[in-house]
Symmetry: C3
Subunit: 315 residues, 3 copies
């Protein structure tokens, strides 16, 4: 694997999942694979699970993680190609990425969408510049439109927890008070479609259609109740509007998953990428109840990262 | 040792002190005790000595410390049990602690009092949730009401520096311009009482009584001059009011320790947990003079942490 | 080497450069030199290259780097000797430095000028207190007036890239929108003068004379065009006024280096310490063109730091 920015970078999802599950049972089996190498983990946005799991995965493989919070420990970066930098940005991503290329063997980067312009965000302008100018294998720690390490952990989790046969997987929109990126939802859709081992339904209120380049292959409905019927997995996530880019169009609390919503499911396992706003996105009763597998899912972030870093180190 | 939140978690203070002093002479004698393990160090409040000494202690024992500044690198955490999270908090401590439980072998946490409500702070609401939901052995890096690693370092320091016989130990209130937590004072009182190897006097202006569950056993007086007579150790510390919770009732500068205050002591050693506001809490002349042992005391933070982590790793 | 605060701490620049170049070819040749030792890296100001390169250099030598962002992870430090600390500062540098002395074997510190008072900044008041009170070998990661690790990397870079014979080296002032420290320019002048292997010219607009204690030995001119003639290396850097301390006197964009400025040079290599404001300090066309060696130069920061830490560890 030369880079890990989306499901397209993965030749075979099932074999990557198996590799992750192998590491889960044998965390230190490749503990000198990355000896003498360094991974730069650059955070342009806050992170908790992603940072910790990547750090742990790197350590398990013997590759030294070096963290940099580009904003709070450094300074604002510029992303416009021919900018005249007389404003608040102090360093251009071109120059920073080239320097990272001198210091690291692998680069892992988190950069959220700017939500100023959909074309810019959806072109993955920032990530592309980092790939181009660093010259390094780049791992996305969440980008403007995707979150592939999360999705890989999600597939790992469903592989472990699924009933016999082909499961029904439902991605349901949930309410939120803020304008939230599409990354987790886009990415989950992209991966479940490519995985192709589930009946996949996406449900959301009107106006919340995601970019069809990620969702096509899934059944899409505005009827949450119908979508949930017989579900084996319910993935709960808010996203803001794609068409009216970044807008919060609906805060209908009836979309928030409660125990009542689970009644007609197949005793569905409930998933969420975390962090979650309790009793806004997802009810406390579900999170604290027997159907929630969100903690288990978060734990799998380590093995997802370890499988990916291993593939890149071996390339 | 299953956790380290207060003196109550310590079976025998003297033997823990001896263990710390052994590590002080032999820092790397257990350098593979923690091999392959990780301690998560979560800071909800700033820290200098506590962070550095815990990191060093962990490294000395071969356990990997992973630091997270939960506020500046992550986001605001919610602590109310059934909160409807439509405000500024992004993740509930329940969910975060459960995830920490997936990533770490030991958890070390710093969380100051909120000073909104004494009952909440004195119930150690935050620390208790972290213990409950992480399922891990938890080490306090200072909590709402206590600072046990500091107190252990204080006892280590007095053990090294005490004259023959039973020393007189005085905890004196000092002026400050801000509302300061009670943790260091509560904890020092709790530990000196449990240690039971000193004559212990606490002196403070009226209105500054600490919670008697920590202080009972000590002699308490409003007469600082009388308290200091014959003292072998003077522990200087500000705290805000317990009864009028969090209030600054007194800024009488005559309570600030100067060389003149030391005249009727037994050439007392002066202690402070640091950071200290010079010439407000404690005079520069004392801090820079021969009676101050504050630097030595801060150095002992490493050995306190190493003894505690060692006991937890061996449990 | 007992400390590394300026070129005066280096007995022989050429041999230090050779040591750095040796490490560049053999990064792990002394990988156990610093075993069991710790370097505290204290940042009072943001840093990207300096932090990453010092961390990597330390790891290459087997010495454990421990980072502390003194501001954002800790609190504001006080530097006035007899301050009555009733303001916003929480700990005196005296007390903090003494504690660092307990925890580390080497101390590396970044502290920018305060720009309040030239005498204070030029006395290197902060760095001197850290040296005095920590009792440790101190490495400057940039101080109020100097940036010696940068300058060493600059000399390494010129050693690698220079044509046969004695090169012509030009330090040219560049425009900027903010009041920028003199450190990089002072330090480059000090090192090139001590190195004494180049014809050295400094060019800047009127009012921008640097402190002659650093520049004397160089030819100084206000005529940039004349200065650039036949140059082998052009070092581009903004600095604010020394005489009218900290003032921005000139923003004349014609001083910004473009390809046209390079026409009468000897196909000059262009250097900058980074971060650089594109199209303000230095044109994008130069930075992205074949004459720029800024990325290579930034890469050499690792080997400069490794050579210095190695000399200190061996002392």
């Amino acid at each position: 694997m030369q880079k890990f920015l989306s499901a397209h970078d993965v030749a075979d999802i099932e074999s990557l999942v198996n590799k992750a599950l192998f590491y889960k049972s044998n965390p230190l089996s490749d503990s000198s694979l990355g000896a003498g190498k360094r991974i730069g983990c650059i955070f342009m946005n806050p992170s908790m699970r992603t940072r910790l799991s990547t750090q742990i995965a790197a350590k398990n493989l013997g590759i030294e993680p070096i963290l940099l919070n580009a904003g709070s420990e450094g300074w604002a970066l510029e992303f416009e190609d021919d900018a005249i930098m007389n404003g608040t940005t102090v360093e251009h991503i071109k120059d920073a990425a080239r320097v990272f290329g001198q210091y690291f063997d692998i680069l892992a980067v988190r950069a959220f969408p700017a939500f100023k312009n959909r074309e810019d965000d959806y072109s993955e302008h920032i990530m592309k510049q980092i790939v181009k100018y660093s010259g390094l294998p780049v791992v996305s720690l969440e980008s403007a439109t995707l979150h592939p390490l999360q999705s890989l952990a999600d597939i790992i989790t469903m592989t472990e927890k699924k009933p016999a046969g082909r499961p029904k997987v439902v991605l349901t929109w949930a309410p939120h008070i803020k304008s939230i990126p599409h990354c987790v939802a886009n990415s989950f859709a992209q991966w479940v479609n490519k995985w192709d081992k589930a009946d996949f339904v996406i449900t959301h209120p009107e106006g919340y259609d995601l970019d069809s380049s990620f969702t096509s292959g899934a059944q899409i409905t505005h009827n949450q109740k119908e979508a949930l019927e017989g579900a084996d997995f319910v993935y709960v996530k808010n996203w803001s509007s794609y068409n009216d880019y970044g807008a919060v169009l609906n805060t209908d609390t009836s979309w928030m998953l409660t125990n009542a919503h689970l009644e007609n499911t197949n005793d569905a396992k409930v998933m969420h990428c975390l962090p979650v706003r309790r009793n806004i996105e997802l009810s406390g009763e579900v999170l604290d109840g027997p159907n929630s597998i969100v903690t288990h899912q978060a734990g799998n972030r380590v093995w997802a990262a370890q499988a990916v870093l291993s593939e890149i180190l071996k390339a």
